[in-house]
Symmetry: none
Subunit: 297 residues, 5 copies
Amino acid sequence: MTTRLSLADCGLSAGKKARLHRILHQHGLGNGTALFLPYDQGLEHGPRDFFADPLASDPRYILKLALEGGFNGIALQIGLAEKFYWDYAGEVPLILKLNGKTEIPADNRALSPLHASVEDAVRLGADAVGYTLYVGSPAQDADFAQYRVVRQEAQRLGMPLIVWAYPRGEAIEHKGGKDSFYAVHYAARTASELGADVVKVNFPHPEKHTDVPEPYTADFSSQQAIDAVVQAANRTMVLVSGGSRAGDDVMIAKAEQSMSAGATGLIFGRNVWQRDHDESLRFVDRLREILAKYPAS
Amino acid sequence: MTTRLSLADCGLSAGKKARLHRILHQHGLGNGTALFLPYDQGLEHGPRDFFADPLASDPRYILKLALEGGFNGIALQIGLAEKFYWDYAGEVPLILKLNGKTEIPADNRALSPLHASVEDAVRLGADAVGYTLYVGSPAQDADFAQYRVVRQEAQRLGMPLIVWAYPRGEAIEHKGGKDSFYAVHYAARTASELGADVVKVNFPHPEKHTDVPEPYTADFSSQQAIDAVVQAANRTMVLVSGGSRAGDDVMIAKAEQSMSAGATGLIFGRNVWQRDHDESLRFVDRLREILAKYPAS
Amino acid sequence: MTTRLSLADCGLSAGKKARLHRILHQHGLGNGTALFLPYDQGLEHGPRDFFADPLASDPRYILKLALEGGFNGIALQIGLAEKFYWDYAGEVPLILKLNGKTEIPADNRALSPLHASVEDAVRLGADAVGYTLYVGSPAQDADFAQYRVVRQEAQRLGMPLIVWAYPRGEAIEHKGGKDSFYAVHYAARTASELGADVVKVNFPHPEKHTDVPEPYTADFSSQQAIDAVVQAANRTMVLVSGGSRAGDDVMIAKAEQSMSAGATGLIFGRNVWQRDHDESLRFVDRLREILAKYPAS
Amino acid sequence: MTTRLSLADCGLSAGKKARLHRILHQHGLGNGTALFLPYDQGLEHGPRDFFADPLASDPRYILKLALEGGFNGIALQIGLAEKFYWDYAGEVPLILKLNGKTEIPADNRALSPLHASVEDAVRLGADAVGYTLYVGSPAQDADFAQYRVVRQEAQRLGMPLIVWAYPRGEAIEHKGGKDSFYAVHYAARTASELGADVVKVNFPHPEKHTDVPEPYTADFSSQQAIDAVVQAANRTMVLVSGGSRAGDDVMIAKAEQSMSAGATGLIFGRNVWQRDHDESLRFVDRLREILAKYPAS
Amino acid sequence: MTTRLSLADCGLSAGKKARLHRILHQHGLGNGTALFLPYDQGLEHGPRDFFADPLASDPRYILKLALEGGFNGIALQIGLAEKFYWDYAGEVPLILKLNGKTEIPADNRALSPLHASVEDAVRLGADAVGYTLYVGSPAQDADFAQYRVVRQEAQRLGMPLIVWAYPRGEAIEHKGGKDSFYAVHYAARTASELGADVVKVNFPHPEKHTDVPEPYTADFSSQQAIDAVVQAANRTMVLVSGGSRAGDDVMIAKAEQSMSAGATGLIFGRNVWQRDHDESLRFVDRLREILAKYPAS
């Protein structure tokens, strides 16, 4: 079991440290780990994600769930943040997602355009901003260009920057796919090289190794893969994403392996709210039990 | 029957609330509902739309019609606003449309370029601005980029932002088309996620479900579809568009279903002015009768 | 006993509400009241204030005291914030004092020049900014000019603005003096009229009424005076200042009367740290006992 | 043997001269030569480069190696510079790499997008900036455009500009390839014509002359080729790159020829750290022995 | 004997730390102490200061002296830096003095106007900037205003800020004078409160206590006074100024007491160069012997 990063060891400015301290030590379990609730699927996938539980279409319901479940933060796009965060302002930390897209156009040259700024996040009282970087996309020129502005503004304003590091685009599809060990490993490192304070990754699948570069064709266990991903991120904290709805025991196993690897936390959305309210909270309790076992020093 | 949003529940700043209060409570029926007259078709479709009633080619005629018909606002592009709004300034609220395009080029990568700014709207005394977002277009990168500036200026200046949320582009054509339930539902949610104060949508057609994502292949009634669209928009008020000229009873039925679903109002252009003056007003009267039945709390 | 302002009733933006929520509900007693530790005396009076307890010269000692004493925030000038806040970033809210001056030049045309900006505060992760407004100073032209920029930046960035509303200057000396009921009453209202979210005032002395305007020449009790001061501030929260070191029972009585009047809290510096460490904490305990009796609704 | 450029002969401003003086005369051998450690491969190639020695995945290990090995500077991307340079700030000069990309998308229209600015470099205390120019890429329009801004900022702020001059793209593949004499020679001259203070080139291979322009089809020795490359760069100092891991004796021979040709130094990464720690230092010692023989006047 | 501040304990950003590391650890004795050569007297006092040794009128002579004497830095105004620093760029650290004035007008409302910017310093390759703050001057409003911009630019660009904290003006003349313990103590604290990274003070004279505030009327030894001054500056490093030419033994005693109090170093100008070249170096040697006894941890 690796030790987790502590805030004092991450090379953070005072403002970034203050805001991450609030998230990691004054919410959730308060032990330096994090459980985030992402709620950007209404834009990313459209309202089809809410048919599983129509209540989940209502941002108020989700904000309340974030409070009841003891989440460390909720990630919202600008529109929902503008209209709903006031009600719970300061009660649960806000991560303002700065870019996003619909899933309608093809993904071969994926790019997630900016729709909000770090100053919007400051104005709304957010404690972090989120940026989706499509690692490996042929549109990486445009992606890096808009990312640069976000990173510099976040640095200037002391705002923690969480990068959703998602391998994507036609090239990655020919090198193992977006959740191969190769792709996730590279994505975590890219976020770290480009200055993310926190990186959100998918759980790596080392068995997907068709056409990946040489070292990744060897046999790796899941645990070895997630260990390497966390190590590659060095002083950038790692959040492991839940992804689309799957069986609870599978998710819990991923969570356990991630935390054991030294990840700082989990970011689970659909696996939480695509079910009945009480079931959601019961599942959250299982996640919290894991986090409780892996405090940051 | 859903309850309608009231201004106090929409997460609005003082300036946005003041301007929407004028629109919703000091014009039209004054009961918190809205009937808008859009008059941007001269750019969007060209003057071919005015052959049905040549008088409709004259902006003065349309402005006068807006007054006579007791509309809550009229939507104009910058040129007509500059040259005609002075005559009726303050008598009928102006919605300044900030972007638009001709229909001449192909629509597969639709993008509606900006031709005016929120400051133009302030200068002219407008009570809202309008922005056409082509949801799902392959050009969504450029669309979101120019939209971001509009949203931020509207926020800074307290100007209500009405988004014409139009599914469009080659990808949407392969997923049920622009007025499928899937497309309209997604468009309403996109506007809400991106910070529209009001969203204008087409009436959804749940029977168009070829190649749409899974939940939309089921059978839904029109009422179920429009209910879901309004719900997806949450604190963003919904206006239902009339679209191209159709039979009166069909339009009236759509209006009734929309208001019953909780929409804030209607935005009917060609169905109003592509006919003789007195007929126009008679049709408007029928719409007003519906609005009168659905006051906002 | 008046009811205290609750955050939902103060006309605050989301960012200001989020930050004040942290201060008032996630630190100190967490009951909506506040106990602040001001530590700007090293600039305002010079290090002579630290002779009473030399340890108090060390910002680390004071920051630690703020944590041990369960304060809701600590007010620092930019230099100490830059060099010392990182160590405790997020553990105790920072109020960045944006202006200040030495006491060396004469005070007849008092003006407290800006030495930091709201963006500095954002960058450092502060939860509020402080501005000293010398109400009644002949230099009020320059004062209002620099205040305007601060207020606008605070509004733009969602940063709560705490105004140290201090009657000062040769004119006020001829109208009852800086802690007369007249002066303090006027100062509280001035801060409210100019857009302070929180105002820090001295406790009013209704018996000082030489040459004050007519209504203030009547007999008022201390309680009547502080009641009026809090009422004059309306939706601006009131903090009552401890001022220079005085007897504990006198201070406790002032604190009790202030909270009974509806003040949100107390801001006590020298009365706290111009004594031995354990005595400091014992005195703080007495203040906290009072705050515990007056929760905000 | 050509004489090496001395700082006084390079047409440098005071700021550029001061910073290069530190690099060339106050670090490493201090004799005006340079040995740089590039550590941008985590982004450029991904973490696959670290499988050879997993310790090399940790930026702290590499920074320490730079100190132990007596390097004149270390080249980092912005993220690692932000989070790791503080620990060794000033102990080893930082070259902030301003652009970079992943290797995932195809390279036929290679462009290395900016992710940091010269001001970031100034802020972090770097002594130079690095920019990858893909000489000959079909995307050279975009490349020159972003390069222009970097050069102008570097000039304005007195920051030495090191250009990684890499022939790349589908056109160069049809003219001898990226390390042909033709391509490297052209790349060195391009950097010089465009205002680089220092240029990093690959060692030229005169035997690769399929489809190269006429003069390059003749027979040239390696020494003749590298002599010409250094001469083409005139007052732009030349660094020769190690490239991917190869046999030590081959590398040493390249280094010897490069210095003999008048190059200012070497920039070796993978050949240094893709091996055990003590072996790394032994190899570095061999490089230093060569540099010691070629002091700048 | 107090311990000296080490760079890691001063709350510095990477850029400030890198530049101060160069000054304190790569020049002079390299033990974390500093000996600076100020050469701004040609503006501050005029060329009358050079009559003692006419050679000292030549900036080349002084720059060479800084190198020969092993100084950690030389402080120049912009004109001499522009025209003379190139010759020695990087060989001795440059402290660019950003403000200055002639001594011709009366000093009762002293203000030292800006004549250069932090960007000038970056451009010239300086490792620190100097700013003269006239603590207690009636012109402190204007002083703080121009200081604020300097501090913010220095923070933004990672440039160490050295404040010449000089009590000055008619008010200070009535409270013990500019080198009273009261005045120097207050000046050191003011620089610290306002964000100086390093403060230059005069040696305090505790025996000057006519009309000073109460605690300063007591008897203090020189050592007690300088101890208190260094303590008041907390994480701001202290340089003690030599002031006008005085007897060597007096100066050496001051230097010894200063270093014993925990000062980081000395800044001696006229006492160095208002004498013959070899005598200058002999005197410098005596100062270096003292610094060698007080390394920073």
